[in-house]
Amino acid sequence: MNNAGAHAPRAQMRRLEPAAIGGVMSREVANFRTFWKATTFSSVLEPVIYLLAFGLGLGATLVDRVDGLDYVEYVGTGMVATAVIFSSALPAMFGTFVKERFQRTYDAILAAPVDVEELVTAEMLWIGLRSGIYGCFPLLVSMLFGLDPAPGMLLVPFFCFFTALGFAAFGIAVAASVSKIDQFNYVTTLFITPLFLVAGTFFPIDQLPEGVQVASQLNPLHHLVELVRDAAFGFELTDLLRVAFLLVFAVSLWRLAVSRMERRLID
């Protein structure tokens, strides 16, 4: 080895360099290869269990049809959003905290020519890609329970991807704001559980009190639920607004996550 030629020529480095983002994502891929079986197993089996319990259990005994859909179709399409939040917000919270605090991974990465903005963006993109795929599993499982395939469903991975970007950023921002890992309990109880329960996954929200209905218009998961149902049963014009809402959610949480992480990682 000698000191000439091995590294790239000196050039002004830019923000959000694809090489830096790709490098950080390649680290995630290398790690994912060691645990993908367990994650994928639960991502496939979880919707099966939910569909059996809610779709068949409730559907056969208490509920027959909701909003003109078989209850299995209703829950199966709604569960896409559940899969997305649980494969984005939670891994982002725990993964970020563990990498920052216990494994000191970010210390190693930031000593290389990677800045916090690139680091956060890469983590979000990776989680978004994963959730984009995992989000489709409930839909595929529902087809085994009788859901008919529709061309609109080809857009579902993209809806999941954008929603997951926002929730990944949410998780990263939370991890960068808490001082102890136990404090995640407040976040899951106060935010994640209500968001996923009152999203229109298991029951329609238009029968809830008016205040709750208005509040759920601010719930990104609710918009994802509606988008996925419309992908299966026919789009409406308001779906464009829902997509716009999800994009605004992703971009604003991205900026929040970057600034929280800069405060946490740079002394």
Binding site: A19, S26, A30, N31, D115, I266, D267
Partner: protein, 296 residues
């Protein structure tokens, strides 16, 4: 142009001033040992150089780049070996290297990984997960990861802390081979022997600034003279010996169960008891004289 230039650098953490008006230049091609007790500000200095901490006052230039603005450019050309192991433990040895080759924008990732494996002598373990390696292997891998892009400057933060003597010696020869290739090295350590063996120059740091700097032999001659006399005895006897030596104008420092009388070659008759063991003055004598007796 020096590889590293710090002028009047101050870094505060709330009420604590970790770095307090630090001036330090590291010329190209030397190994500078940054020696200091725990809490002296060595690790904060290292973090300032990688842009992971931002100075409150002062100027920092690394490889000609102004920090913090051009920190990313500087980081592209320097390698960092951290004090604490932050390898990805579930991931294979070669993937650990490959990820950092990409982060450092190395064009030939595979070639860089092979060189890193050769340097760390882990060719036979390339597909093994890091958590299957011994402590010494992990340290070698950490060093190889920091060198994956063949940097012009290397920051070594306590490179052999917590390692047994065999592994320490092995790492020392690795570091020495880098120095002989002309790579600039800034190495923080609180192991005196490490600084003595590897460093062309030593800077002693205490309370956030450099209090003395020079070649190890010059520092010893300047601060500790030629000879040190050590006396092992019960505490009461040690107190008497110490009082007498100090009455004769000699400097005395505690040395575990003993005391060390520094500058013994200048002692007048009766200043040092006959049972004292005389030895050559060492960097450790300098270190303790300069940074104080009590550990923080």
């Amino acid at each position: 142009m020096a590889a590293i230039e710090l002028h009047g650098v101050v870094k505060r953490f709330g009420p604590i001033t970790a770095v307090d008006g630090l001036d330090l230049e590291v010329p190209k091609g030397i190994c500078l040992g940054l020696l200091g007790p725990n809490g002296a500000g060595k690790s904060t200095t290292m973090r300032l150089l990688t842009g992971q901490a931002t100075a409150d006052e002062g100027d920092i230039r690394v490889l000609g780049f102004e920090l913090p603005g051009e920190s990313k450019e500087a980081r592209a050309e320097m390698g960092v070996v951290p004090q604490l192991d932050n390898l990805d433990v579930d991931v294979s040895v070669e993937d650990n290297l490959a990820v950092f080759a990409r982060l450092y924008r190395v064009r030939d990732v595979r070639g860089a990984v092979d060189r890193g494996l050769a340097l760390s002598r882990l060719e036979g373990r390339r597909r093994d997960a890091v958590d299957q390696l011994s402590g010494g292997m992990r340290r070698r891998l950490l060093l190889a990861r920091g060198l994956i892009h063949d940097p012009r400057l290397i920051l070594l933060d306590e490179p052999t802390v917590g390692l047994d003597p065999q592994i320490r010696t092995e790492l020392w020869s690795l570091i020495d081979s880098l120095r002989s290739r002309g790579t600039t090295i800034l190495m923080s350590t609180h192991y005196i022997e490490e600084a003595e063996r590897l460093a062309d120059e030593v800077a002693v740091m205490a309370h956030g600034k450099i209090i003395s700097r020079g070649k190890p032999s010059e520092l010893v001659a300047q601060h500790a003279g030629r000879e040190t006399a050590e006396v092992y005895a019960p505490p009461q006897r040690l107190a008497e010996v110490r009082a007498r030596a100090e009455a004769h104008g000699l400097r005395v420092r505690p040395a575990g169960p003993a005391i060390a009388i520094v500058g013994a070659e200048r002692a007048t008759d009766g200043a040092i008891p006959p049972e004292a063991i005389r030895r050559a003055a060492s960097l450790e004598d300098v270190f303790v004289l300069l940074t104080g007796e009590e550990a923080e």
